[in-house]
Structure formats: C-alpha cells, structure tokens
C-alpha cells in the first residue's frame, strides 16, 4: 500500500527523510548557546519590573506632587488676580497725598508761561 497524501496518519517515510535533511548538527552546543543568551534576559528581567509595577510605586508620590502643584498654581493665580488692585492702590497713594499746589495754578486767570517754566525749573 503506497502512502497517500490523503492519509490522516503520519507519513513515516517522508517524515524520517525530512528529519534527516533538516536536523542540524551539534545540538548540545545550540542548547548551551540559547541558555547562555537566556541568562542575560533573566538578569534583565530580575532587575527591571513591569511598567505597571513602576507606575504603581510612583502613584502616591505622583498624586501628592500633582496636588502640591495644583495648590501652588491656584495660589499664584489668586495672587495674580489681586495684583492689579494692589498696584493701582500703590500708584494712587502719591496722588492722594497732600501736595502743596503752587499759587500760580490756583489763580482764576491763566498763568504766564514764563512763570510756569520758572516754577518747573525751580523744582
């Protein structure tokens, strides 16, 4: 009985021929080479955690830092929004301070230009 391609069982003759053609040499050396390469990977894996584990470790400090940052930003914003009022007050102070107005400016008639210039130069 000739082996049929339809056969659901292994074609042992073809299997043996393929095994002989495809089997590489020096299997022990190959195994050693793979195991040596694996040692490096295992060392890397032992040293490095998975990304979610790293994130988990950083979750609490991260949240605390985010909260502090938010508070600082809010404080800055709040102080910034108050800034213009304080500065206008600061500018208003000299204006509100009592200043002696020269008599020339209090006269009912327009002062002579030379008097005004003399006053300014005198100051």
């Amino acid at each position: 009985m000739k082996a049929s391609p339809f056969d659901h069982r292994q074609d042992r003759e073809l299997g043996e021929a393929l095994r002989s053609a495809l089997t590489g040499q020096n299997e022990a050396e190959f195994v050693r080479r793979v195991v040596d390469a694996a040692v490096d990977i295992q060392q890397l894996q032992a040293g490095g955690d998975e990304w979610w584990e790293i994130l988990n470790v950083w979750a609490r400090p991260g949240l605390a830092a985010a909260a502090i940052g938010t508070i600082a930003a809010a404080a800055l914003w709040w102080s910034g929004s108050r800034g213009p009022i304080e500065s206008s007050t600061a500018l208003a102070d000299p204006l509100q301070a009592s200043v002696e107005i020269p008599a020339a400016f209090l006269a009912s008639e327009a002062p002579d230009l030379n008097e005004v210039l003399a006053l300014e130069l005198g100051n």
Binding site: K2, P5, D7, Q10, E13, A21, A38, V39, Q42
Partner: protein, 214 residues
C-alpha cells in the same frame, strides 16, 4: 503494531485503542511536565528553561530550517524564538500544550528573519551539494537525497513547509498544526496534503537511491 508495506517499504502504524490511551496518557504527562517547567522558567529557574530548550531544540531548529532553508539562519531564528518565548512565558496558557505555542513563536521568528533577509538580498536557492568524485557511497547518496529534499521543500509555500514538518516529522496533530499556523483545521489538512504530494512528486526519481541507502 508496526507494519512494513510491500510496495515502497514505508512503515505505517495502526493504533489500537490501548495504544491510543497510552499515547494520550503520555501526552497528558508531557503537557503537565512542560507546563511545570514553563512555570519554573517563568519564575527564573534557569535549569527549567534549559530543560525546555533541550526538549524542543530539535523541533525548533527543523521548523526554522524549513522556513529559512539554511542551518545558520535557522539556528539564529530558533534562538530568537526561544528567547521570545522566555520573555512571554507570562502569556502562555498552561491549559494548552506547550509545543504548539513555542513552535508558533519560532515560526514567527523565522518568518521575520526571512523577511529581513529578503530585504538584504534576493533569496538564494539552497546550493547544489551534489558530491563529485567516485561512485556514490552511502554518505554521499544520503547527502544528495537530503539536498534534493531540501530543494523540493524550498519550492513549497512557507505555510505548507511548516505544516508538513510539524505533522510528518514532529508528530503534531492537524489541530495542533492549525493552532501553530493560526488557520482552520481544514486548511492545515490541505496544507499537509499538498506539501506531501509535491514532495513525493519531486522525489519520485530518487526511489533507487532510497533503496541504496537502506
């Protein structure tokens, strides 16, 4: 019970129910064994990983060689496959057999390497290794036959190569071949069938040489 057939000397095996039970029990034991080794390797046990490599080195190298067609590249790809499997042992489902899972990774690694090699150079047909010199002795004939078989294999589509090697060389079932190739079982059957037919046709002229080798 093994039976030698008259026409072509092929050996075919008829399974009795008790043999099927034995092989099933062996497969279960192997599954559990491989699963334990995989768990240990995942936990960092180097010896367990070494044992898995020892068990599957032959298979992995043959599957990679069926894809790549040369031994050096095949060994590199098989190594890539083992290391990728080690990195991904956490994703291995212990309720499934380890072999098909590993062979899928190895065949993917070989396919990647083949793709990269194609970018570098046009694919080379395996060189003729026909021996020159005086009349064929057993070793030379074996080499010639193997070279012819490899050349015939290289003419097949990649999926069929993997299918026939897994089924006829490594003894995987059609279901397992389908799992490795990620195709329906019917497609795996068809791949094995077409690969066998093509290989048998390509090797039809070697009947005399086969008899010389035996």
């Amino acid at each position: 019970m093994k039976e030698k057939n008259g026409t072509n000397g092929s050996v075919c095996q008829h399974e009795t129910p008790s043999m099927r039970m034995d092989s099933r029990a062996m497969a279960d034991a192997r599954l559990s064994d491989d699963t334990e080794l995989a768990a240990l390797a995942h936990a960092g046990d180097r010896d367990a990983f070494g044992e898995l490599v020892r068990r599957y080195a032959g298979q992995a190298r043959r599957v990679a060689r069926a894809v790549l067609g040369n031994e050096a590249d095949a060994d590199d790809a098989a190594q890539d496959g083992f290391l990728a499997a080690l990195r991904n042992l956490g994703r291995y489902n212990p309720n499934r057999p380890f072999g098909p899972w590993l062979m899928r990774i190895v065949s993917n690694a070989a396919t990647d390497r083949r793709r990269r090699r194609k970018v570098r150079e046009t694919e080379q047909v395996p060189p003729e290794t026909r021996e020159s010199g005086p009349g064929p002795d057993g070793l030379a004939t074996r080499r010639e036959f193997n070279a012819a078989l490899e050349r015939a294999l290289a003419t097949l589509p990649k999926r069929r190569r993997i299918a026939v090697v897994l089924f006829d060389v490594e003894g995987y079932s059609h279901d397992e071949v389908a799992a490795v190739l990620k195709v329906p079982v019917g497609t795996a059957r068809s791949d094995v069938f077409h690969a066998r037919r093509a290989l048998r046709k390509a090797l039809a002229g070697w009947e005399q040489l086969k008899e010389d080798m035996q």
